[in-house]
């Protein structure tokens, strides 16, 4: 019978907290960058300009149809050979996570914007609003409400995906589990503790997404 002992794990709680902090920074950083880039991609797709649409769609498919793990390894180990420069693992991690997130957020934006009835844009146009004003004041505020559940779900996935940056030695929460395991020889406790930490943070978020989705269904 295995005898559990979380005591060594508690002793290493500084490492876990630091790892958690790194995970949060990479998650939020890549969400913000991903949202900005995703919105740009989405506008390219909806611009009506064939070339922009094609480039944006190509980008999206590239990042949606390859594993994030492969992307991280490629950016860290392969891209430097192509460019002839070193890429810091932190830069590679943040860039890859952001680009990956952008590909998915762009699709959420696109779906949300296209779901707003044409009559809304026409009503804005009919009072003399410009395309940008219509987008900012009429379409996006309505679309963002509808996008919120999908956005939270994608961000939950992003939080978990951040664990992959440990393979290029960024000291995130998952990475710290390995470190603590190495120090304590207690893999069961180390990895369980990390799993519990992820769960405790993400479970409320998935509940929130469900709640918002139900409320939207009632109000529409």
């Amino acid at each position: 019978m295995y005898s559990w002992s979380f005591f060594p794990i508690f002793q290493a709680s500084d490492l876990f907290l630091w790892g958690l902090w790194v995970t949060v920074v990479y998650t939020f950083g890549s969400i913000v960058l991903g949202l900005v880039l995703g919105l740009a991609l989405c506008f390219c797709r909806l611009s009506g300009n064939r070339a922009l649409d094609w480039v944006a769609q190509g980008f999206q498919e590239l990042f949606r149809c390859t594993p994030l793990l492969v992307q991280l390894l490629w950016f860290y180990y392969a891209l430097p050979l192509l460019l002839g420069i070193d890429i810091d693992n932190h830069v590679a991690a943040m860039a890859t996570l952001s680009l990956y997130a952008a590909a998915f957020y762009a699709e959420i934006f696109r779906g949300g914007i296209l779901s707003i009835a044409k009559g809304q844009s026409e009503a804005g146009a009919a009072i003399g609003m410009s395309k940008a004003q219509i987008m900012r004041r009429i379409v996006l505020p309505q679309a963002s409400r509808r996008m919120l559940p999908a956005f939270i779900n994608q961000s939950v996935i992003q939080f978990k995906n951040t664990s992959l940056i440990s393979v290029i030695s960024v000291a995130d929460l998952a990475y710290m589990a390995s470190v603590v395991n190495g120090q304590t020889y207690r893999p069961l406790e180390s990895y369980t503790a990390v799993a519990v930490l992820y769960f405790v943070i993400l479970f409320p978020l998935t509940r929130l997404a469900d709640y918002i989705e139900r409320r939207l269904r009632v109000s529409e």
Partner: protein, 258 residues
């Protein structure tokens, strides 16, 4: 009337030779129509005759394939902003309001915010100024007490009256009404027509696409009968609605009197 002559000084909005196809299907085959200041013109005709498409061309929500729209004698261009001798679509729409069949109120804005949106964002009025104007128009359509309601809380007739107030708050030179009672329950039609009738009495220049023939006959200075993408007959309400001579027009009107 010579088509080539420059528009009369009091012509507000004019369509010349408007043609439009959707794919292979020609919907408008060359329509001329001028709206003089203070004039109310109703456009009637069977479904699919191109009435709605035409009125949507008049504020360029629909881009004509051929022909041109002129606002106060100036040609409306393809851009949003004024460009050279042409005025922009933004300018046109600031001066020519439209009310839609399905209201198209902004659901994320209150009644008052729906009405102040254009004046603040497009005309640059202060919030206070715009609210004062908006309350005047909401009072005119009998909805001052609904200022803080959300569109979802209103009946169809109330929604449409807010939509009319929203268009009026831009203090337009002309209004385009696209089947504004077609989506309403029968008992709510009257309240909306009442508002339109009062606008006509006040001298608002209007083009009205409608299926309400007797209403058209009552408020209009001129009635236009469209069929198959052309204006098939045009004249006073008396000539068009009461003593129609055009065979297809007679057949069309007969369906309403049955």
């Amino acid at each position: 009337m010579s088509v080539a002559s420059p528009a009369a000084a009091d012509t507000i909005l004019e369509a010349r030779g408007i043609a439009k196809s959707f794919g292979q299907l020609p919907v408008l085959k060359g329509i001329d129509l001028a709206l003089t200041a203070g004039e109310v013109v109703s456009i009637i005709g069977p479904s699919g005759s191109g009435k709605s498409t035409f009125i949507r061309c008049m504020n360029m929500l629909e881009r004509p394939d051929a022909g041109e729209i002129r606002f106060r004698g100036r040609r409306v261009g393809a851009r949003f902003a004024d460009h050279g001798a042409e005025i922009g679509q933004g300018t046109l729409r600031r001066h020519v309001g439209m009310v839609f069949q399905h209201f198209n109120l902004f659901p994320h804005r209150t009644v008052l915010q729906n009405v102040t949106e254009g004046p603040t964002v497009v005309l640059g009025q202060s919030q206070k100024e715009a609210e004062a104007v908006a309350m005047d128009y909401l009072a005119q359509v009998g909805l001052a007490d609904k200022r803080d309601a959300w569109p979802a809380q209103l009946s169809g007739g109330q929604k449409q009256r807010v939509a009319i107030a929203r268009a009026l708050a831009m203090q337009p030179d002309a209004l385009l009404l696209d089947e504004v009672t077609s989506a309403l329950d029968p008992e709510l039609v009257g309240e909306v027509l009442g508002v339109v009738r009062r606008l006509a009495d006040q001298g608002m220049t209007m083009a009205i696409v409608t299926h309400e023939i007797s209403f058209a006959a009552e408020v209009s200075d001129r009635v236009v009968f469209m069929e198959g993408g052309v204006i098939a007959a045009e004249g006073s309400p008396q000539e068009i609605c009461r003593e129609p001579r055009h065979e297809r027009l007679k057949a069309f009107l007969a369906r309403f009197n049955a």
